[in-house]
Symmetry: C2
Subunit: 418 residues, 2 copies
């Protein structure tokens, strides 16, 4: 089994100013290639720390992927360090210089500076991996049988180098095992209850097959993982177990793939050729944002009215002032009128309407922070549900969105079954 | 100087199914307490890997914070491992058992299972840190002069234990240095150009003061960092340098604090008591989401019309069919009409209107993917700007939002200067 370690470099990671999204993406790609990531390490822009990390990670892993620290500014010391670590001297790489010149002349349309040109210098002990999306090239080094790849930390530049250069080179260098994952999505059951439900299944799993619980905003995903030499054997064994697992959790099963809730809902709408619009108060556009993050949803998503103030609820969604006065903005009556108003205004087949108190302020004894009403439905019928979340503003917004999407999903599935 | 290392445990981190946001938050808190995070390591739910990580990180750091692996399910092996690593035996912690029982009876309102009760077992060699927000307690261990703290991976549970237990205990255990950071935000200048602009300043900085460049979606933040024994000396030295730096980058300076663009804009509106609404096509509610992520914005944010389809642009924002036909939905003419329609419909003081092609499909030779038109303004005047982004869908959406918010910010600042 080929093992990898990911080293991310940058002080910003250690003082918490930046969240590392690169490592998760890299791990996904390596997994697909049959390489297991066993460690991820973040270190600052400090010579000794980077040096020690290179030494240490090469005792853990066969492949060490390094991101960050390659910028043109003085705090970026990774390139000179790599030059020394791999006993090289700096030379100008002609292909990179052409790429940098091209980017400045044709794409950025800015004059090129000496500092930019220095991006084309690389240690002569590396194989250069051209970065078509930026100025800092990737670098592939080998030492004592281990492979080290250095890439810029800018996510879409790193992704380009991985896809075009690193992933294709891996099978040439390593004997790669097959890895198989099967993931299903459950909703509405906690991790412990789920564990009790499938405990016999879990206890009798073969040693080379792992089961993981991945809880996230009302969803618990279950993932079976296996690896081995023979791809077909691995796959047929895990497929049989996966069917068994689906039957065990059937009451809570959302889907037997690892796709996000917003995509499950939009796929159902696409299959039925139905349109959607949202009427959002407390989620402030977050549900619409989740939906429009998916390419190609313009076929089914028409738009939203974000009615953050009561005035907009009345004027744009035709919520009655009396309903607001008698029940408050966070009430079943108001979300029903918001849903009906949205269906009428945007003339969509389905809608999601939400109103709630996300915190930290705005709660009362009767309606504490975390109280949410959701309505979903069509011109034919609207269903509602109340929720009580107990978290911070961000998490309450996310939980509201997930539960609202799930409520619409349940309705769509039920109507398809008829 | 007290150094810390953060170990996050969980297979989900290594196969890329989860993005680690805990480490950034922990790093921020430790920094404020005068502790420098020098490394972050992620390992899977594997006995040997966790064990080795504990050994290795204790050679790097004085304080080792561990998150994850404490769930009630079989894949969570951290607690028995810590019990062995710190030579303890498992005992029931009465206070934790009371807390778990309370949570199930009063908060979750679900029957408590044996699996849940096991959460109250802890090694007898630890100091228990009560977790009021969940069932898995925090655990504080000491060994060979190093402190190890284990916490659950659920972010809001970890945060509660950090704030209520860990942070208050740190000054009792360590001689903490003072750390000072000063961060400013620039917009509209690349990292290299900025580096050229301030290179003399950077070259003459004292050795104990570091300058970092943090580029992100059109913004580059500059951060000066210093540490030392005497808090007042550190602060007065860094304050003087920070003023000098602000003067050098004055043409691109947005603000001399580390706050996000959406909060800069909403603060300006709050100061002037002006309201805002957005008319979004390609950003699909993302700008409204950014704004409504800030607590207390209901004073200035009334709502949005997400006009994803042309039909909604016409019906809800009164964009003329002729304008759409003659110029296309992604045009200066259309975003002006969207802005005017929004101001009229929602009766706000200011608006942001956006229309663009976010990709991966939908581009043409004349209007490639990444073409965006933005209009911002008030009933008195509207200004527009065209952008060409060259990234993937997610990044194009984020860049559009940041640039649109910045355009409104510039207008608000200009009008305030009058």
């Amino acid at each position: 089994m080929t093992n990898a370690s990911i080293i991310t470099i940058g002080d910003e990671l250690l003082i918490g100013q930046v969240i590392d999204t690169n490592s998760a993406w890299i791990a996904q790609q390596l997994n697909k290639s049959g390489i297991s990531v066993i460690r991820r390490v973040a270190v600052g822009d400090k010579w000794d720390e980077i040096w020690k990390a290179l030494e240490e990670e090469s005792t853990h892993a066969d492949l060490i992927l390094i991101t960050g620290g390659l910028g043109p500014t003085a705090d970026d010391i990774t390139k000179p360090l790599l030059c020394k670590y791999f006993d090289g001297k700096m030379i100008v790489n002609t292909e990179t210089l052409e790429n940098v010149t091209y980017l400045f002349e044709k794409v950025f349309k800015r004059p090129i500076t000496e500092r930019n040109k220095k991006q084309a210098e690389v240690p002569d002990t590396c194989k250069v991996l051209i970065n078509k999306r930026g100025t800092a090239p990737g670098m592939w080094f080998e030492k004592n049988g281990k492979v080290f790849v250095s890439m810029p930390g800018v996510p879409h530049e790193m992704k380009g180098i991985m896809e075009e250069n690193v992933i294709p080179l891996l099978p040439e260098k390593f004997n790669l095992l097959s890895i198989a994952h099967r993931t299903l999505v459950t909703f509405g059951i906690g991790e412990s209850m789920l564990a009790d439900l499938i405990q016999d299944f879990e206890n009798t799993l073969p040693a080379h097959i792992k089961l993981a619980y991945l809880p996230n905003y009302g969803i618990v995903r279950l993932r079976l993982s296996s690896m081995g030499v023979k791809k077909e054997e691995i796959n047929s064994e895990i497929d049989a177990l996966f069917i068994e697992l689906q039957q065990l959790v059937n009451d809570y099963l959302v889907i037997n793939e690892d796709i996000p809730m917003e995509k499950i809902v939009t796929n159902l709408l696409l299959q039925n050729n139905k349109t959607l619009g949202t009427a959002e108060s407390c989620t402030g556009g977050y549900i619409a944002h989740l939906i429009t993050s998916i390419p190609g949803v313009s076929k089914i998503f028409k738009g939203s009215i974000i009615a953050y103030s009561n005035e907009i609820k009345e004027q744009q969604l035709n919520v009655q002032q009396e309903t607001l006065l008698n029940n408050g903005a966070v009430s079943e009556e108001v979300v029903i009128e918001m849903a009906m108003g949205l269906l009428h205004q945007l003339n969509t087949d389905y809608t999601i309407a939400v109103s709630g108190i996300m915190g930290p302020d705005g709660g009362s004894a009767e309606k504490p922070v975390g109280t949410v009403w959701v309505a979903v439905g069509s011109h034919a019928s609207i269903i509602t549900k109340q929720f009580h979340f107990r978290f911070d503003r961000q998490k309450n917004i996310q939980l509201t969105a997930m539960n609202a999407l799930n409520l619409l999903r349940e309705l769509l599935v039920k109507q398809a079954d008829k």
